[in-house]
Amino acid sequence: ADTIKFGVAGAHSGDLASYGLPTVNAAKIVIEKVNANGGINGKMVELLVEDDVCKPEVATNTATKLVSEGVNVVLGHICSGATKAALPIYKNAGVLVMSPSATNPDLTQSGEYPNFARTIAPDDAQAKVDVEFALNTLGYTKIAVVHDKGDYGKGFAEFAKKFLEDSGKAEVVLFEGVTPGAVDYSAIVQKIKQSGAEAVMFGGYHPEASKIIGMMRKKRLKVDFISDDGVKDNTFIKVAGKDSEGAYASGPKDTTKNPLSIQAVEEHKKMFGTDPGAFFENAYSATLAMLNAIDKADSTDLDALKKALQTEKVDTPIGNIYFDEKGDAIGVGFSVYQVKNGEFVEL
């Protein structure tokens, strides 16, 4: 082939589009830059963007379509469910898939998907970081665990609950899911209050997080809020405003100060006129990592690419990373942030 076919798959329409579209933008930015510099090993990179609406059944069609178009590597999919459904098809065709956002632990840990890698920490890893922080640094003994019933949020929450209970240091006083998109969360907030929790640990994304924290502050409930990297997003601070002050969220290390990260955000603003959305940096990094691997391996063969991913470190907005043999990124140190004066500050 005279071009490298770079697929991007994820939710680009429907209710989850806001998680998928930033990924497309990230790929566009990076690839435009790469092509402007003469491509990779003399080959131009061609972008193939396909929507899967985050539905497994559509994802299989999307994957078959990409494969039949001869895709070499795929950035995506966005949701773990869709990813799981699509992976066997890519595996069959020997295509490397790297997701910026699919966090289900099984994807890497089960060993079923050798062609998969990701630039985001799995649910359990994050839960561990958050739980340790809550217990050891903050010293809480009563924690309410709340999630958004989604794949990611509930996965995170279940691990958090397990780790909390296993630690024997704290009691999970509440474990419940809220309905995403519901117009009002005051009942669950009253329940949190009633439970006597000292902190809420939330698994899910920033829209729900900001609604819950907003409602807690409205109800004059002053308990701490600890969450995951679905929440560690500037949109959270924008939407929740002053209510977000003091909230904790885990995420990859100090990305905001990383020059690459600052640069990526600037590029997005230049090209699209807006701030980037969720998982933009993960997607940007994944694109860099995959292109780097192709460059170093000088091939798009799956085994060669995997080897390159595991050996060649690459500088990305989320840090200097490489991948373990299961596909999880190494070097994405995780830390906990707190919102201070309208900014996430690493603790």
Binding site: H12, S13, G14, L21, V49, E50, D51, C54, K55, P56, E57, A59, T60, N61, T64, K65, V67, S68, C79, S80, G81, K84, A85, P88, I89, N92, N104, D106, E112, K149, G150, D151, K154, G155, E158, G177, K238, G273, T274, D275
Partner: protein, 401 residues
């Protein structure tokens, strides 16, 4: 052709749309950076676009009005052309034979991707035919059809996961469980009419989905069930292409079976009772028809097909989670039935092919895909309010005595 007056109206309409879309299309704000972006170009685009669309519509109307007025019989013929065509046994055999041959060689002339989406389309044909029993024939507006689909899919996924049961073993179980679910839903809601029924079925669909989502111990919750086995062929494990091919033929067989059954039902004592029930419940009862039994039969049969397709669905994607069974799915299946032509088998088939293949072929439009899909849905309804193919009732011949 375009008089000054039409042009003036066109300009006015364009201006109206410019006004209408003004805040959303032209202004974009960033509340934190406190930036206002004025995208005047969009207003211009909307104006010109509307005007062009208006001209096209006018032109089409003009053509329609100035065509030599179709003779009364002519138009009637057109409506049921397909039905007329297949009414003749020889033509019918030819047509079906031809279609069968095309269906058989289809996967060998197109890519795996095309075959794959054709499988999906065929699944929706069967789903549409199933819902057609409930909505098209019996006239019960069901907005929660997807619940039965979910029952089938989870039956296979869970039985396969926990007990290693195979596709063919679970197929009847999945269908049966869905049918039972149909009866369970049917019982309490028999008294409800029209939109009251619609909302309860919608609720039922949501309840099933929410239970699957929340009852993690049972269904693995939102993270779903993966690695569901594909159907084995004589005990062999098939390659991916092989199993897609196999799946395709299974679906062809299924579709033929479904058409066969639904066709027979339509012209049976039960089928007539359904249609009568749809037309007038009171008269129906006065004719001695047991309303409850007849409705339950419709519900459970419709659900049965959905259950079967659920099993196939799980086997095809090898992964399922509750996100696949949302209200939108029910809405799409319902659209298939209505768009195709309520109660018409041919109509439902065409409706399913159009509605499922359309978004796939609209992929070229990338982010405008769903926008176009919505617009086309509206346009098709306006263009063919009765659905694409009208139903025809069976005619009988008798010797004059």
């Amino acid at each position: 052709m375009f008089s000054l007056k039409t042009l003036r109206t066109g300009v006015l309409i364009s201006l109206w749309f410019v006004f209408l879309t003004f805040p959303l299309m032209v202004i974009k704000v960033d509340p934190l950076e406190r930036i206002i972006q004025w995208r005047w170009k969009n207003a211009l685009l909307v104006g010109i676009g509307t005007f062009l669309i208006y001209l096209v519509v006018q032109y089409l109307n003009y053509r329609k009005e100035h065509q030599p007025p179709a003779k009364v019989e002519d138009t009637k013929d057109q409506v049921s052309f397909i039905h007329k065509f297949i009414a003749d046994p020889i033509q019918r055999k030819l047509l079906f034979g031809g279609l069968l041959v095309i269906a058989a060689i289809f996967p060998f002339v197109v890519s795996t991707y095309q075959t794959n989406i054709m499988i999906t389309a065929l699944m929706y044909v069967v789903l549409g035919l199933g819902l057609n029993i409930v909505v098209g024939m019996a006239g019960l507006l069901d907005l929660g059809f997807v619940a039965f689909y979910a029952v089938g899919a989870y039956s296979y996924a869970l039985l396969n996961h926990h007990f290693g049961l195979g596709f063919w073993e679970v197929l009847p179980i999945g269908g049966g469980l869905a049918a039972i679910a149909g009866i369970l839903l049917g019982f309490p809601v028999l008294r409800l009419r029209g939109d009251y029924l619609a909302i309860v079925t919608l609720g039922f669909g949501e309840i099933i989905r929410l239970v699957l989502e929340n009852w993690s111990e049972f269904s693995k919750g939102p993270s779903g069930i993966s690695n569901i086995s594909r159907p084995g062929f004589l005990g062999m494990e098939l390659s991916l292409e092989g199993s897609i091919l196999y799946m395709y033929y299974i679906m062809i067989a299924f579709m033929i079976f479904t058409i066969f059954v639904v066709n027979r039902l339509q012209d049976s004592r039960l089928g007539r009772a359904w249609i009568a029930l749809r037309e007038d419940e009171i008269a129906c009862q006065a004719m001695g028809i047991d309303k409850q039994k007849t409705k339950l039969a419709a519900f459970s049969l419709g659900a049965f097909w959905a259950g079967l397709m659920g099993v196939i669905f799980a086997a095809k994607t090898t992964f399922i989670n509750p996100a696949s069974f949302t209200f939108l799915e029910s809405a799409i299946i319902l659209s298939i039935v209505v768009l195709g032509g309520m109660g018409s088998i041919v109509g439902v088939i065409i409706g399913a092919l159009v509605l499922i293949l359309l978004p796939e072929y609209l992929r070229a439009l990338s982010e405008y895909r769903m926008l176009a899909f919505g617009a086309i849905l509206v346009a098709m309804m306006i263009f063919r309010p009765q659905g694409m193919i009208a139903t025809v009732r069976r005619t009988y011949r008798f010797q004059k005595k």
